[in-house]
């Protein structure tokens, strides 16, 4: 069990849960945890959440986005409060991990709350004084739904860190960023060419990940350099 220290509202539909892990073995950027809720009658529900904090951070942070008809996210967003405890399993996963020894250049592609593991990767890169160039493309429905917006802008001030947003449904009148879904043109504009063999990580809803990965492979990128993590509503 880990203690909840604080909940931070990131967008109207997403909060970051700041946790004080006891006996936490440490994690690597890109890993996730399983959160298990147990009802008084013994009924259990479990969901996976990416770790949004860097290994170097003092606290463990999970960012939770509300899912329509969700079973777990409404509890985490509406009921959970400071001082409560959460049952966690993890850290989990090695496939979607990035650390400096894996090299780059590094292209990160996020859809919606798929930005969470990349916050960990970007913070880790800065904390480790990494010299590996990294570019992030982040697709959100509107500016109001961009999670960690201010922090991402600050991270983009670092040498070698480039952050691009694309808004798919609504955008401010003076929006100079990309409009619409991630497509071949945007990816060719942002990505290093296949000859430079970028390491590519894609995280988001299943259809988003599928489309981005297929576009990159279609542009000549080596599938073995592409790592993907899909999430979505889970059926019961």
């Amino acid at each position: 069990m880990v203690g909840v220290l604080e909940l931070v509202e990131e967008t109207p539909q997403a909060k970051s849960i700041v946790l004080e892990p006891r006996d936490w073995p440490g994690h690597r950027a890109g890993q996730h945890v399983d959160v298990r809720l147990t009802a008084p009658d013994g009924y259990q529900a479990q969901r996976s959440y990416s770790i949004a904090s860097a290994p170097e951070d003092d606290h463990l942070v999970l960012t939770v986005q509300r899912l329509a008809d969700g079973e777990v996210s409404p509890y985490l967003l509406d009921v959970l409060g400071p001082g409560d405890e959460l049952e966690l399993r993890g850290p989990i996963g090695g496939y979607f991990v990035w650390e400096e020894s894996l090299g780059g250049p590094l292209l990160l592609i996020a859809g919606g709350s798929g930005i969470a593991p990349f916050r960990s990767v970007l913070r880790h890169g800065v904390a480790a004084h990494s010299s590996i160039p990294v570019r992030l493309v982040y697709s959100a429905r509107s500016l109001a739904e961009v999670i960690y917006r201010e922090e991402l802008m600050r991270l983009a001030d670092h040498d070698g860190v480039d952050v691009r947003f694309t808004l798919t449904r609504e955008w401010p009148e003076d929006w100079t960023g990309h409009r619409g879904r991630i497509d071949r043109e945007l990816l060719q504009d942002v990505s290093w060419p296949p000859s430079e063999q970028p390491r590519i990580y894609i995280c988001g809803p299943s259809a988003f990940v599928e489309a981005a990965a297929n576009t990159l492979v279609g542009s000549g990128h080596d599938p073995s350099r592409i790592r993907t993590e899909r999430f979505g509503p889970t059926g019961t």
């Binding site: 996730h32 399993r89 996963g93 496939y95 979607f96 899909r230 019961t236």
Partner: protein, 84 residues
Amino acid sequence: MEALDGNAIAGDLQELFGHDMTAARGSCRNCGDSHMIAELRVYLRAPGAVVRCPSCGNVVMVLVTIRGETRIDMRGIGGMEPAH
């Protein structure tokens, strides 16, 4: 129903095998293609998960969790090799 991927069963596999399995490779007994566990297609259906080969759709694993205990049937996997 949209497919997730093998990252979604990584916690259960880690508990069963004692270490991370996402970057291990398994070959499909039907088509022979080899994929990392994280790249398999996963359909979560309570009380478990159906895992399919992304190349041919063959069911390669079924996980069932009852009273907090997970059991796994891997008869669709022809062979496995650890992560490098």
